[in-house]
């Protein structure tokens, strides 16, 4: 009798486990989800230095709090999330992307104090990164956040809905607290050019940036243009791609910040 009860209990527990799993399991990724934004076919733009000079321009939109902070305090604190500065090492002190961004911003906003804080949240999907980012924001009190988002989620094959939910929750939170954000989408990787999940994540970032009028640095698009074979360029595409992140990212982010902050500023000194 005791044995039967035990067997029945095990069976019931197994059934309950399966039911719980089925209840919480994400949609089968075999079922394709329609992309938020269809990514257009790439067009090559000649770009001897940084792509975008003669090709696609970063899409500007308006930053609301940053111009106010500049006008009122004369100080600008920028939190860069997703790529860390070297404290020391081969790229120190001025060559990493966050350091270069600081240099660009200081050369543009000459009359203001610029403080740039870099936080690397490596490998964390948007849900976890969002939580840590909020804590960092509370600690550093930035006027602007530059957020490289989506790569970890794309690599972890996080369900699109889950990504969108975590992503928009953080965007809502930033909006609630009047903190401007500039988004940077994942980098273009030739091996994943046709990967639907990767493209869906990029597409979702484009969609929310566009519908919420959030400035976006279209790194994916710019890098994709660079990756196209081109006889006029001496460097092979893969070197151009590496060069993009090293040389051009900071410039593109600075460009978006300037264009977006100028659009709302009554006093355009620059």
């Amino acid at each position: 009798m005791a044995h039967k009860i035990k067997t029945a209990t095990i069976a019931a527990l197994c059934l309950a486990g399966i039911a719980t799993f089925l209840l919480f399991a994400p949609a089968d990724p075999l079922q394709p989800e329609s992309p938020r934004t269809e990514l257009p076919e790439p067009k090559y733009a000649a770009a001897p230095s940084c792509v975008g000079d003669n090709g696609i321009r970063p899409k500007p939109a308006s930053l609301k709090s940053l111009p106010k902070a500049l006008a009122e305090n004369g100080t600008l604190t920028v939190l860069v999330v997703g790529s860390s500065a070297y404290e020391d090492g081969p790229l120190a002190p001025d060559d990493s992307y966050p350091d270069r961004l600081a240099t660009y911003l200081k050369s543009i906003f000459k009359h203001e104090d610029i403080e740039l804080v870099s936080r690397n949240i490596s490998g964390e999907v948007a849900y976890d990164a969002g939580e840590r980012m909020r804590a960092e924001i509370a600690e550093t009190d930035p006027d602007l956040v530059v957020w490289q988002v989506g790569a970890a989620d794309a690599l972890a094959r996080v369900d699109l809905q889950e990504f969108e939910s975590a992503f928009t929750e953080t965007l809502d939170w930033l909006q609630e607290h009047d903190i401007d954000v500039v988004l940077v989408d994942p980098r273009y990787v030739p091996e994943l050019a046709e990967d639907p999940a990767y493209r869906r994540i990029v597409g979702a970032i484009w969609y929310y940036a566009s519908t919420r009028e959030i400035p976006l640095v279209r790194r994916y698009d710019m890098m994709r243009n660079l990756a196209l074979p081109d006889d006029s360029n001496a460097a092979p595409p893969q070197y151009r791609l590496t060069g993009f992140d090293n040389r051009c990212m900071a410039r593109k982010v600075a460009e978006v910040i300037v264009v977006s902050s100028n659009s709302e500023r009554p006093d355009k000194r620059r």
Partner: protein, 368 residues
């Protein structure tokens, strides 16, 4: 080899949760303990490590001498450090191999690995110094520092448990107030798991074991059962509603009021203590219900360092498998089952090797 016991059992459970949680996106991660409590398996693992410190040093009645305690933990620290360096090297090899043979350079950038490949002259000493840690490979560096602190904890604790708890709490509180942490290098930043904050949980584990050995713990804990149950229920509500305190709304020092993992905010710590209080008696019931389950999980816990090391590498491979299989649920499930099977095999293999090396009468290696 010691028989199954509660500490090994729950440590085995924590190891499985860590393995599953370290494959982000894996559907099974929705079933691990972090979905039902504010804390996660890392807290349970560190608390039990602290508990084991007491057992490994003879307990309060037959405590080892200070010299023996110090040598023991220094030796264990070297062992854990060696494991950290080994699994980091293998993890880097896995990432490089994946980049080569799966023809995807993105793998080289995963989990903070990029500077190792682009700036090895700087990052190699940083890996040895543990100031550069790969993502998901940051529990053992914490454990190395905790083991370095362990002799001091044991010596003060054997003198006075109250003093030990107070000193540990003072360090914890100061850490949260002033955000004290070990720095990372050459990347700017700090350690993912702050040893100065986590030492408090480790110390609480040690104090708990010392009290249990002198049969003073039960009297302390019994009246706390229902408050602990209420805390667990609140944790469940927090997880199901997705609530997280808004860092901009909480008073300063903020870390006291958040759910911060790096600094082990009090909410996480209290949640773990509540969990321990409520489930303290569960092991005997589980063991009575299924002796095999108790034996298997306890074998994982008994060989925690080897199982954790293999589990960490299996998690990394799992992430690659998940990416390459485009996140197919069936692949996730099959891989998780295979991974847990390999962790069980690891535990068996380590014990088999130990048995074949030693005469049966000799006692097996103890926990910490």
């Amino acid at each position: 080899m010691r028989g199954p016991n509660a500490v090994d059992f729950w440590r085995g459970y924590a190891l499985i949760c860590i393995f599953v949680d370290h494959i982000p996106g894996n559907p099974l991660e929705r079933l691990t303990m972090r979905n039902f409590t504010i804390c996660d398996a890392a807290e349970l693992f560190v608390f039990l490590a602290g508990w084991s410190v007491s057992l490994a040093t003879g307990g309060p009645q037959r405590g080892h001498t200070s010299g023996r305690v110090t040598i023991r933990f220094l030796s264990r620290m070297v062992e854990v450090y060696r494991a950290q360096i080994t699994i980091t090297a293998i993890a880097l090899a896995i990432l490089a191999g994946a980049a080569l043979w799966l023809e995807n350079n993105l793998y080289l950038e995963w989990h903070n690995a990029e500077p190792v490949f682009t700036a090895p002259v700087w990052t190699t000493p940083a890996l040895a110094l543990m100031t550069h840690q790969l993502g998901f490979f940051n529990i053992l560096p914490l454990y190395v520092v905790l083991l370095a602190m362990a002799p001091l904890i044991v010596i003060i604790g054997r003198y006075s448990l109250t003093l030990c708890g107070l000193v540990s709490f003072a360090v914890y509180a100061a850490t949260l107030i002033f955000r004290i942490n070990l720095p990372s290098w050459p990347y700017a930043g700090e350690w993912f798991l702050d040893p100065f904050a986590w030492q408090f949980l480790f110390t609480l584990g040690f104090i708990g074991a010392e009290l249990a050995a002198t049969e003073r713990l039960e009297a302390l804990v019994r009246p706390l059962f229902w408050p602990a149950a209420v805390i667990l229920a609140l944790g469940l509500v927090v997880r199901f509603t997705g609530y997280s305190p808004d860092p901009m709304q909480v008073p300063s020092p903020r870390l006291f009021f958040l759910f911060d993992k790096t600094y082990l905010s009090p909410a996480r710590l209290v949640s773990l203590i509540a969990l321990v209080i409520c489930f303290a008696g569960a092991y005997s019931r589980i063991a009575a219900f299924s002796h095999q389950l108790a034996e298997v999980l306890a074998s994982l816990g008994r060989n925690s360092l080897a199982v954790f090391s293999i589990g960490s590498l299996l998690s990394l491979i799992g992430q690659i498998v998940r990416f390459e299989s485009a996140g197919l649920v069936i692949v996730d499930l099959a891989y998780s089952a295979l991974g847990i099977g390999l962790m069980i095999f690891t535990a068996w293999f380590v014990e088999w090797r130990t048995r074949s090396k030693r005469p049966p009468s000799q006692p097996s290696a103890s926990l910490a």
